[in-house]
């Protein structure tokens, strides 16, 4: 059983990467923080009796599931909003979630590019391009190369074949390299 200290150390070591992964997927700071907090609570409540070595793969899975759950809830909410807005006469006062999303994304990118030093700018651009990757490619790339999962583990996490993982990773790498090259960045 993982002790409180072990759990604390693990969460402290994993929370920033978890937040970034959630941010890449959700593109909203507050939602990403909510998802990470949700994942942390689930880990502590349901899996803290597991050995400390199992915390990392469990947390990765919980985080990925939490991100999927968020999208699922958002889809259901969007469906209801669309249905209800069809009965509403006043369309001007409606807030378009897409407008909010785009504004938030633009603001974050602009702040990163304007306020950071050169290296920070490059990091921000890389993060931006990773966020722009198709969801499955990004997920495969991050799990494989950032979370250090092997091909089989990544495939199990994504619910696809190992061949698909290799394809996603390869495409993500090429797409990322081309996107960075187009912005004048070579790694």
């Amino acid at each position: 059983m993982a002790t409180r200290e072990e759990l604390g150390e693990f969460l402290a070591s994993a929370e920033r990467r978890a937040y970034k992964q959630a941010l890449f997927a959700l593109r909203d700071e507050d939602n990403a923080l909510d998802v990470v907090q949700d994942a942390m609570l689930k880990l502590a409540e349901h899996y803290s009796d597991r050995p400390a070595q199992e915390l990392a793969p469990l947390f990765t899975r919980i985080l990925q599931n939490s991100i999927h759950d968020f999208f699922r809830r958002q889809k259901v909410r969007s469906t209801w909003v669309t249905l209800l807005s069809a009965f509403s006469g006043n369309q001007d006062s409606e807030e378009d979630p897409l407008e909010t999303l785009e504004a938030a994304e633009g603001t974050q990118a602009a702040e990163s590019a304007a306020d950071q030093a050169e290296r920070s700018q490059i990091v921000a651009i890389i993060e931006e391009e990773i966020a722009n990757l198709p969801a499955r490619q990004r997920q495969a790339f991050l799990l494989r190369y950032w979370e250090d999962l092997d091909v089989a583990e990544t495939a199990a996490e994504m619910g696809c074949s190992e061949g698909s993982v290799k394809t996603h990773c390869s495409r993500a790498t090429h797409a990322l390299a081309q996107a960075l090259l187009a912005r004048g960045i070579t790694l």
Binding site: R16, L33, E45, S48, F141, L187
Partner: protein, 138 residues
Amino acid sequence: MNEVEFAYRVRQALNEGTDQLPYRVLLRLEQARRTALARHKVGLERPLWIPALRFSTGWGGLAAVDQTAPAWRWIRRLGLVVPIVTLAVGFVGIYRWHEDQAVAEHANMDLAVLLDDTPIDTYADKGFGVMIRDEQGI
């Protein structure tokens, strides 16, 4: 540059990115971590299951349960299984013996009725069956 090298450099950049998170985000993450730790299952140790009829190794103590050699575990399991099997065989034997006794008793009554030594009403009288059994020394 191959895929792995490129990915390694991207990974370095991503790690740098995690060091540059805004203070607001770091604060929220720390709060989330504290909330999660507050819900840690404190003191809820997983129960240690020990069979009630555990075969004693002679060295005793709960600490020896998971530290014994596989051979001892088998002996311990055998010590649990043998009494159960013996008990089951005993039950079956008693049942069969009792069944044979009942069959013999009914056979004697049937014989007595067939030879007209006794009326058919004998079947309704339990005491008569006992008398015949006692007479024939069963």
